[in-house]
């Protein structure tokens, strides 16, 4: 044989082997397809969304750059700079109340007043085809309003009817289908209402200290790029206190969010692949066992172990590539399949295309997983002697795995872990995942071994079919441990996800009635406070807390501009935009002093501030350091007098920044009130307050939390769906094991029938076996999943842990359904099998 022929020979042999069909390797291919499809799908979806966001970034921001000012419009000098930089669009945003003219029904709204240039990019889609400017302009002296469809329901109005916003009467002219810049508008607590900028004065909502955001968007004229323009603007007006963002800056948090979610889902997808790995290992083990005669024959005819190993490795790799190709193709199609479902949920549409990077990563994951789980069982080839042809060898000795196979498996496992960490956006999470995955494999493998040993030690029950069921769990070669491992990991993920989600939902919804206020009233003018207090005190069972409030941006930390300061990622959010601030003589409720001392109630001196301890840690600040806040263009530098640990879960009023008396009293301000009152009184109170003070807005806490809850629910659904893929992989492994043991089950059934067992009795025996398997897997998964959930809930989410039996029972039920269902499907055929072919002498 020439050297090239020798090199090709294993390939030729592998090709001949493959002609015999896939046989038991179908599960192998299915596991690869499922795992790779999950990872490739999630990656492709994330890539197409990221591309969509990048492509729509200008429309999402509404311009090439945006300058956002809180409380005050741009002064003439700032405005002049904006106006000469390109096409300018001015937008004013605030929260307000919309009411029916009779005042009987009202709703919190997110009001947006736009000029004629809006939108600079993208387009507002309305339910009725009409020109935006015409829809908002005055008709018979009445301006128009475009509303989110929810407003029509809440206020019970129809198109063409009038609503009141503040003191302005507006005609509802259409509903908003799509608003290009909605995603980056900040926290949306109420339905959107768009009006013309010219209509805003009529509302009389713009009062001193009102929570108003003035947004200036620019389509830059040819010249400097967005980043240079921002740098120039910052240099020209260093004390403007405006938030300057380019379209790329604005899209980044959204892309980051999608990236993080995609990473999390990818890890769950990888779990599916790893669970499938168990099925891959089982299939390879079964395949090698079934090929004992062929392997012995090849060796008899002079084939070396190395050659035979190469033949079967090539065969498996060929099948793996087939599976990886099919999985990647399915994954690449996922964005196409889910795009219609995501259309309403996401601000940017997925940009369809073939994204090679996520497909390559998924393929690499698939290949490494196949090798990690295949090499060990493939090494069994070395233990099959040529003499196996002449003796009926049943070698029950436990052989040590060859060092080369063990070393290669360890190296490939390390490579797999390195790939997980290298491709992760959040490295810490990736490390946790790797540790968790290894831990779960070790624990479930040990649990599986314990179940096998336990079943053996249970003794010999008198009932023969129960005995048979138990014996099937611990007989030599029983796949009990592998099934426990694969099914158990899928179930653990399901339990953990369900319990974390349940605890989160309970935290958001369940704790509410006892501790949370019913409403926050914002924008109460100082001269309205007495009247507001009078209304609340006159309402049965109502009480309220109230604090003065203003908004400002943190601009310097110890004199260093925040853009240049070293800040940990988890504290950066506090520097991105305006923060609410207040001043107080005493320590606010729900706070605990953790460093420094609280000032005396009658303090009057240099500016002092109390800061959130967690944020201070993230910004590298301690007591005695200085913090500079820009308030309406004025910079105030205060010394940090103390740090507080704040219990945000109380949902009462609290601020990260609380100033000592004597600094902010003179600044324009409004009051924020948290009102606690029984449900029955709520509507009447809101009607009375907003009827008397149209500029005051009521934020219903329950609805706000429901909005958050909906987002949590959506993310939870995505995670659960992906976890279901992991469980499906577990089911595949179980199905594969059942299929592999089919012949043995048929044989058992036939012999039992010969001895006089009825089909019902035989079925009962098989079902006991699968029921026990499901029950044990569910119990262990329930325990491990609960431990994982406690860790996430208590350590990561930092909320109270409550044991929820519902998700646990559901998982138990699912496990039983799965094992019994698959077991039943697998044994049904065994029951109906004809006895004669199995009993005839060979």
């Amino acid at each position: 044989m020439t050297p090239s022929a020798a090199w090709l020979y294993p390939f030729r042999l592998a090709h001949r082997e493959l002609r015999g069909g896939l046989g038991g390797l179908r599960v192998f291919v299915a596991c690869v397809v499922l795992g790779v499809a999950a990872i490739a799908g999630i990656g492709s979806l994330a890539a197409s969304l990221a591309a969509g966001i990048a492509g729509d970034a200008r429309a999402l921001l509404g311009g090439d750059v945006e300058a956002r000012l809180a409380y005050r419009p741009a002064d003439p000098a700032e405005h002049a700079l904006l106006a000469r930089s390109g096409a300018l669009s001015e937008i004013t945003q605030l929260r307000a109340m919309a009411r029916t003219p009779d005042g009987k029904r009202q709703s919190l709204i997110e009001l947006k007043a736009v000029d004629a240039a809006y939108p600079l990019y993208g387009r507002v889609v309305l339910s009725q085809l009409q020109d935006l400017g015409a829809a908002l302009g005055p008709r018979n002296g009445v301006f128009g309003a475009l509303v989110a469809p929810a407003i029509l329901d809440r206020l019970g109005v129809k198109l063409g009817e009038t609503i009141k916003v503040g003191e302005a009467a507006l005609q509802v002219r259409g509903t908003i289908v799509r608003e290009p810049d909605a995603a980056l508008s900040g926290l949306i607590l109420g339905p959107r209402v768009i009006i013309a900028a010219a209509a805003l004065p009529e509302t009389r909502l713009i009062q001193p200290g009102a929570l108003v955001s003035y947004d200036y968007r620019l389509r830059l004229a040819a010249g400097p790029d967005a980043a240079s323009w921002i740098a120039a603007a910052r240099a020209a007006f260093p004390r403007a206190g405006w938030q300057l963002r380019s379209f790329a800056d604005a899209a980044r948090p959204l892309q980051g969010l999608i990236g993080r979610l995609a990473q999390f889902l990818s890890l769950v997808g990888l779990t599916a692949l790893l669970v499938g790995g168990v099925g891959i290992g089982n299939a390879v083990r079964g395949h090698i066992a079934a090929k004992t005669t062929t392997i012995a024959t090849l060796k008899c005819l002079g084939g070396s172990t190395r050659l035979v190993f190469a033949v079967y490795l090539i065969e498996l790799l060929a099948l793996a590539l087939l599976g990886i190709g099919a999985g990647a193709a399915l994954g690449a199609l996922l964005p196409l399949a889910v795009r219609p479902f995501l259309a309403g949920m996401l601000p940017a549409s997925a940009r369809l295309g073939l994204y090679q990077a996520p497909l390559a990563v998924a393929a690499l994951y698939g290949l490494l997983t196949v090798l990690v789980f295949s090499l060990w069982p493939l090494a069994a080839i070395g233990r099959i002697p040529a003499g196996a042809l002449f003796r009926d060898l049943v070698d029950r000795r436990r052989w040590p795995v060859p060092l080369a196979a063990a070393t290669m498996t360890a190296a490939l496992t390390a490579a797999l872990a390195a790939l997980v960490i290298a491709t992760a956006q959040d490295r810490a999470l990736a490390w946790w995942f790797v540790a968790g995955a290894i831990g779960a494999f070790v624990i479930f493998r040990a649990a599986g071994a314990a179940v096998v040993a336990g079943a053996g030690k249970l003794g010999r029950p008198r009932r023969p079919l129960l005995r048979l069921a138990l014996a099937n769990l611990y007989r030599p070669g029983a796949p009990t441990a592998q099934i426990m491992l694969s099914l158990g990991i899928g179930l653990t993920v399901m339990v953990a996800v369900a319990l974390v989600e349940g605890n989160l939902a309970r935290e958001i919804g369940g704790r509410l009635p006892a501790e949370a206020p019913a409403f926050f009233f914002i924008d109460i003018q100082p001269d309205q406070l007495a009247g507001f207090e009078e209304i609340v005190r006159g309402t049965l069972g109502a009480r309220f807390d109230e604090v003065p409030m203003m908004r400002g941006r943190i601009t310097r930390l110890n004199g260093v501009p925040v853009e240049q300061a070293a800040v940990m990622p988890d504290a950066r959010w506090a520097l991105r935009s305006d923060r609410g601030l207040t001043y107080a003589a005493g320590l606010p409720a729900g706070s605990r002093l953790v460093a420094g001392t609280w000032w005396s109630p009658d303090y009057h001196g240099l500016p002092l501030v109390s800061f959130d301890a967690g944020l201070a840690h993230g910004m590298g600040l301690k007591v005695g350091d200085s913090l500079t806040v820009n308030l309406l263009g004025r910079e105030i530098t205060a010394r940090i007098a103390n740090l507080r640990a704040i219990d945000w879960r109380r949902l009462g009023i609290n601020f990260a920044l609380v100033f000592a008396p004597g600094t902010l009293e003179g600044a324009p301000q409004t009051h924020l009130a948290a009102v606690y009152l029984p449900h029955a009184q709520q509507e009447a109170l809101v009607r009375r307050v907003t009827g008397r003070f149209p500029n005051v807005s009521a934020i219903p806490v329950r609805e706000a939390l429901q909005a958050v809850g909906r987002v949590v629910g959506l993310i939870g659904a995505a995670v659960r769906l992906t976890a279901l893929v992991a469980l499906a992989a577990g089911a595949l492994v179980l199905g594969g094991a059942i299929a592999a043991s089919h012949r043995r089950r048929v044989y058992d059934a036939v012999v039992l029938k010969v001895l006089g067992a009825t089909r019902r009795a035989i079925l009962a025996g098989f079902l006991i076996e699968y029921g026990l398997l499901g029950l044990l897997a569910a119990l262990i998964a329930g325990t491990l999943g609960s431990v994982a959930a406690v860790f996430v809930v208590v350590r990561l989410l930092r909320i109270d842990w409550v044991f929820l039996p519902g998700p646990l029972l559901a998982t138990l039920g699912l496990a039983m359904l799965l094992t019994l269902g698959l077991g039943l499907a697998g044994t049904w055929r065994a029951l109906g099998a004809k006895a004669a072919p199995y009993l005839r002498n060979d």
Binding site: V394, P464, V754, L755, G756, R840, N841
Partner: protein
Amino acid sequence: MTSSLHSGDPLVVVDEVQLTLGSPAGPVNILRGISLEIAAGETVSLVGPSGSGKSSLMMVLGGLERPTAGRVRVDGHDLGHLGEDGLARLRRRAVGIVFQAFHLIPTMTALENVALPLELGGHRDAFAAAAQGLDAVGLGHRLDHYPAQLSGGEQQRVAIARAFIGRPMLLLADEPTGNLDGATGSLVIDCLFEQRARHGTALLLITHDQSLAERCERQIRLADGRIIDDRRTAPLRLGAARRAR
């Protein structure tokens, strides 16, 4: 299910039985009109070349294969009228089968394998009876051994003990020594005939071994799915059989 056999009726009646099985090359006629009767306690050997239909006939008599045409009665029951579970109950009560390949359940000990038919029938003393049965075939010291831990001869003796544990009326044995060497084989056959004699069971023994066939009172020869010879080699000893029961 109880015996429907009237005094003097044959234990087994086979009437014009045909068996056709499908194969890739088209239907194959395995049995082509077999008729025979076996009396209670009678020992019958079934001989013939490979492929003559011996094992198929045995499967039909054991209710493990349904004939394409014809009728089979065992212990007064028409097998064609019994469903799958009815046939299982009939075997549990009246028919013992010994295979060439033993067909023991690998995950059960010798004692458990033998006790199984009685346990399935709900007998409380299944294990005591099984221990006795194993003792009777000389395996009283191997009760807790698994099939894999027993020699071929021992496995077949376990299978014989299992076949006789329910005191069947009819024992079907398909080349019980086919997988065993000569010495072990004759030990097993002695064991089988001894058990048969003790229980007065009718025996249908498939064998290639002419000397073994001649230990039976009657010899039936099959060729190409038909009976070509049916002769008595020793007088029928029905009385012994009935007395034993």
